[in-house]
Symmetry: C2
Subunit: 163 residues, 2 copies
Amino acid sequence: MAKPAIELDSFDLAILAILQKDNATPQRLVGEAVNLSAPAVQRRIRRLEEAGVIAANVAIVDPARIGQAITIFVEVEVVSETAELLDVAKREFSAAPEVQQCYYVTGEADFILIVIVPTMADYEALTRRLFFSNNNVKKFRTFVAMDRVKVGLTVPLTPSGAA
Amino acid sequence: MAKPAIELDSFDLAILAILQKDNATPQRLVGEAVNLSAPAVQRRIRRLEEAGVIAANVAIVDPARIGQAITIFVEVEVVSETAELLDVAKREFSAAPEVQQCYYVTGEADFILIVIVPTMADYEALTRRLFFSNNNVKKFRTFVAMDRVKVGLTVPLTPSGAA
DNA sequence: ATCCCTCATGAAACAAACTTGCGCGCATAG
DNA sequence: CTATGCGCGCAAGTTTGTTTCATGAGGGAT
């Protein structure tokens, strides 16, 4: 694993704020925006990537333009919360390509999944495969998204622990 | 607005699959992977961007490495589902920078929010601002994420509506 | 107090990638 | 059968990303 935390100064945060919105921004422009030279920006970006602060550089695809994808939320409740059973569930859920996001949470549910499927029939198939065939799944609740009001993974830049 | 849908062939889907994982992949490598020349890849990418299929190119930042961000799910139930009240809610929720994602859903809840905050105190402040001061919010349930098992916006590439 | 070591920066050179223009082949329509 | 439009590949030009190098600031030890 990478280091749990590295020092981030205001330059790093400014760079992250830009790349979070558009990582195709030329380093030259980034440098101008944060008052740093292009190579300096380059080194910082590499450091952030190696440290895991930048987890990935990806293109965001609009599901609505690809077939007619349906976004679904699932709250999953498990029977037993032993460490190994949780690991099993995490691995199974993560393995499904339809599962975009999976969180282990506190509260009335244990897992929250965000699923994208082309049709409801695909979702039904997924539930059979993921939930009904897993004895540790007590119950699950389904929420179908009618509107993606706001979608993003942009993290608010908190200057905590930085100079 | 862009066209609601454009034709996507297997080349486009293959390209999208790659860029969804890493949009820093050189077009030359993309071309090799899909058996196309670099300029052809380039033109297709541009078309996909203009059509809105590629909504954005962004760097994914791990919140855990930025301060100690907490991911929280909120199920919001509203009193009245008139169009204008929903619009108000959508706008208010979207305006909050802490709200990463907001969906309007069917089921036992009306909205599902994904929130990122540095501390629980910030979340409490957010609830006051967003929920308690909004008379149309009947109730809300909170789920705190203990583990981000899987995070992504990767859309499964469905060859529907393509050659 | 001085020296030395380490580290990050900026300027320039270098390499790689992106972008554009051109001609060709294929599919479709007339 | 011919004409037209679309998308491809090739090659050149341009921008961008990457490396190298010398300089200056900060820290610790003598």
